[in-house]
Amino acid sequence: MLILECPYCGVKGEETEFHGGGEAHLKRFGPGSSDADFETYLFMRENPKGVHLERWRHVNGCGKWFHVARCTMTLEVFGSYSAQTLEPPKEIKDILSAKRPGWSWRNFS
């Protein structure tokens, strides 16, 4: 059971209060893009064993979308951060570097 904290309303709750929204920081491709880019955007996923960045929504709370850094091997939650960003903030990266030295996820590390 995951315990997540909403970075908007500050409420901490277990996972039934939230809803997973899949992989974070997807680069969107639409009409006019190449087939390969569109396929990558729609279907190809990191699916990492270890550090993962993903989107969650506080459905049974304030309703806001946000980001979570989590480990898929241990279910440890490293922290949550705003949805209005294209990459994890320094605080989250520092926590990840402290707990999972040498971590990398897509082109972040």
């Binding site: 059971m1 809803h19 087939d35 396929e39 279907f43 996923r45 699916n47 064993k49 989590r70 898929t72």
Partner: protein
Amino acid sequence: MRRYSAFAVAREAARFHSGWERAWRSPQPKKKYDVIIVGAGGHGLATAFYLGKNFGITNVAILEKGWLGGGNTGRNTTIIRSNYLQDPSAALYEKARSLYETLSQDLNYNVMFSPRGVIMLAQTEHEVRGYKRTAHANMLQGVQTEYINAARVKELVPIIDTNGPRYPVLGGLYQARGGTARHDAVAWGYARACSDMGMDIIQQCEVTGVRSSGGKVTGVETSKGAIDCDKLGLVVAGNSGALANMAGFRLPMESVALQALVSEPIKPCMDVVVMANTVHGYMSQSDKGEMVIGGGTDGYNNYTQRGSFHHIEETVRALVETFPMVSRLKMLRQWGGIVDVTGDRSPVIGKTPLGNCFINAGWGTGGFKAIPGGGWATAELIAKGEPGPLSAEFGMERFIEGRFIDESVAAGVAH
């Protein structure tokens, strides 16, 4: 290999069971094999078996990081059915189901295939229409199913409450020749037959890297040293993404946890498999008398083989409503497995960006039922280097071509 038979049982009974052989050898890996299959689960072993049986390729190693059949092959709820809507799925799953019919004889190993019938309950008007459509599609595909009304459901499953307050049972899609099989025995039977053909099943041998040269696979690095091969088959449900990473490509899949549980054993009360997709639960009774129960997947990536408790709660809640007697049962065990789910909820059997490297993955929540068919198709793919008729539609390229085999209505919930 000594054959199992009634005569063998009598013979061994007369001499204190001293003559039974080990079912399969545990050899050390050779330097090189024609084909290496990564993953000694049902699909991996079946692939190896049909490579030997259909194509005469027996210089084969099957590598397993844990123990044989200890992944999803030993964690599923053993349901076998082929009542799929799309033609490619129906063909593949019906091939598997029909192979199950004679699998015990083919392997000389009792896999306890029990074609007791599978009912998928229709509990909304949409499901009624959907299942009628599937029944018509199945008729055209040559898969024997029928749409039955609520009274017939009640006749087949007396313990069901067809007049539930939320979701009354309106009818069902019935496949009389669907059913269950002993999941461990399927893995063990294939393993014994593979070992008998001279194939090496190497357990506790984890693949840590894939070696290639000039865009073609040349071998694998393992915890027991490097092993060379001409062709490589990746058949590792739940870890396909990690293996693909080693081989240098990505997959259109995500790994999530799926859970199941069993109750204490009770007297026989239900001799069909019942699936209720609207309320997310399915149940059958094992030969030991336990009620075997499965539910839905968790909604986030996970490699821990543990799932969330609230999904168990949702599943049990749904079943208590559908089968009121379940409320009195104590649950004995609960477990989880990691399944690879694709965008269209259909598997991937096909070539990969790496030459001579083939993949069988992405069965999502329903791989067990497909073991003989998946193995058959993957063996043909590896032997010929090109997909055969069964797997032609299941290549990874379908995602870039937009040529999906959309079974998402059927999966993600119940299998």
